[in-house]
Symmetry: C2
DNA sequence: TATGGACTGGACAACGTTGTCAGAGATGAG
DNA sequence: CTCATCTCTGACAACGTTGTCCAGTCCATA
């Protein structure tokens, strides 16, 4: 079984001793192709790139040599020479999260249309790792960056990069200390709509369980919740609001607190999909039917009983929009950062329509 | 709004006219740093790479110049010189599919420990796109490739690449026409176990709904199903087996066929998660309680009623194992391709334990 | 036959980095 | 004081590609 060494410095080219390029069992270069075809180096380049100025006859000789040697153009060298890398870096929280993987896919699609490849890295909500990843991408001279900011990250570290021309778009959460293109969901409005929906079903005591308030989306959703409550003239009891890490045990504790005591809530607004999943599991375990609206849609939401009422985001839309902003900059657009908010959509499936007990 | 041009050639560096490197608002190079610090070029290189042989005093002058100019080493050039790129390419079917995104995350983690960055691309089950992506990664001189073969792809196109030293690992499905490291789930065994479980619950007429038989995993799972049936001495009626595209409408039709007529099946084995989701939805719509076992676990499987019995794969394990094989090769391991099969696990949650009607 | 133009092919420098090697000072021994 | 040794530094070539530019060839025309 392979071993598992610690990386000295993550994201740095490993320091192999000895002469360079040794580990490749010799890669033929254009020079080799030229020698074999009996033509000049530049002629090979022309053939490879489909440039005009080569006789059909010569071109064919070159082609033959290329396939015979198994030549493949070295894009590293090409990149070095041309200055554009046709690649984009994507830093997000966790590619295994369906929300981010949908988003990633949308970015990939748009990138493909523009001929770009995609580097992806997960920050795990760690600002240091976000920075390492983003800067490693910059060192590779990606043309652009798409970043889901980690909680608490200060993005001024990107200033030299952006000045140097790396197009940068932030998604899901705004950057800190920087003006840049940003694509967000209308988190507060969505949460307000979700909460208002519960109120319209007759609920007066509604709990909010969300992620840490230093995560922008979590804070915004909490704000929307409070606004909706205030708008309806409803008080918010301390025991109803829990914000912090979303590990299932934490959610269970928060849920137990919210649903007990003299001020027991009759409905639940869950700040993200992890909370929703944990809460639904816990309610199932407790065998309690409590009204619930979650932020973020889930694949099986319609198959639960009752179906899960959610405030759905549009991850693919966010990704697509972000990528479009990015490539617009790469195509020459300049100007101050644009901020686009995509609406969230209330999807009623039953759990949010349970009346107060 | 940004425009959406068609890419001339996907994954090729865009042809910008004019002198190269123009779009960067000048990136300082080591030469610039050297000039500013009043030292030689190589000294800057030494400082940047932490090589010995530089006085603390000189090093500090260089550091100052670096931060003043916002210098960042150009890894493209470094790569060109050193020959190793510290990057890995991952080609899979669809990064938005939770199975593949978990897998991707695991590969990313191992890569990070080895100091490598990850290129990701989705083939959408199109062999041509798979090849385009893989070769584009090779042109960037990734050190290694991890590939989920698209249905019907012939992988001999990779021979020159592998000969040239690009470590290659196939996952989820074996390569065609090539000997290489491969990490698979024990698909047939898993499907056999799942089917046998239904049989042990008293079912005699069990349907199999799966993906196209030219997808290796689908074929293997079908084989496992047939083996289990044969082992129990049970016939397999034609109307029970449907293999093909997994769009919901197709699944609905197949399911209707399997559950009707004189040979109506009493239980269902679903060949992958997309089929399972479609089938569960359809059964719900028809309001029928039919025994069901699915291949692949689903996030909410325990929250359905009844809970979903599945044959669970271990995507993270597959990804981790594949990445370990890959880096073992990069660390010098040679020899013929290794083939590792990871077991699938039967998880009983209720839907597979419904008795025959 | 000479001349011009169109076309083809190749020599050369450059992209930004790193490996090699040799030079410049400083230090110590004889 | 000289020579050897050691430490630090920098000049230079090379990685594989592409842009520039010039030289040669071929044909048609004056």
């Amino acid at each position: 079984m392979p071993s598992e060494p610690q990386a000295a410095t993550p994201y740095a080219v490993g320091d192999t001793a000895g002469p360079p390029a040794q580990r490749y069992g010799h890669r033929p270069t254009m020079k080799d192709v030229a020698a074999r075809a009996g033509v000049g180096l530049k002629t090979v380049s022309r053939v490879v790139n489909g440039e005009p100025g080569v006789t059909a006859d010569t071109a064919e000789r070159v082609q033959t040599a290329i396939t015979a040697l198994g030549f493949r153009r070295n894009d590293s060298a090409r990149i070095l020479r041309k200055g554009r890398t046709a690649s984009v870096g994507l830093v997000l929280e966790d590619i295994a999260d369906p929300f981010y993987s949908s988003l990633s896919r949308a970015i990939e699609e748009v990138s493909r249309l523009h001929g770009s490849l995609l580097f992806t890295g997960s920050s795990d909500e760690d600002p240091e790792r976000e920075e390492q990843l983003a800067l490693a991408f910059c060192a590779r001279r990606v043309d652009g960056l798409v970043i889901v900011p980690a909680a608490g990250a200060d993005h001024r570290y990107l200033e030299p990069e952006i000045r140097a021309g790396i197009a940068t778009v932030f998604i899901d959460r705004p950057p800190l200390g920087l003006d840049a293109d940003t694509v967000l969901t209308a988190n507060a409005a969505g949460a307000r709509a979700g909460t208002a929906h519960l109120i319209s079903q007759g609920h007066r005591r509604i709990a909010f369980l969300g992620d840490s308030p230093d995560i922008h989306t979590a804070a915004e959703r909490a704000r929307g919740y409070r606004e909706a409550m205030a708008e309806a003239g409803l008080p918010v009891h301390d025991s109803w609001v829990a914000m912090g890490p979303t590990a299932p045990e934490r959610v269970e504790a928060a849920l137990a607190a919210a649903l007990s005591g003299p001020h027991a809530a009759t409905a639940l607004f869950c700040g993200n999909n992890r909370v929703t999943v944990a809460a639904v599991r816990q309610l199932r375990a407790l065998d309690r039917q409590v009204a619930l609206v979650g932020f973020d849609d889930l694949e099986f939401a319609d198959l639960l009983s009752p179906g899960l009422t959610v405030v759905a985001q549009d991850p693919a839309g966010i990704g697509r929009t972000a990528a479009q902003l990015l490539f617009a900059r790469l195509d020459g657009h300049t100007g101050p950062g644009r901020r686009i908010e995509l609406p969230a959509r209330l999807v009623m499936r039953g759990s949010g329509e349970i009346p107060p007990a």
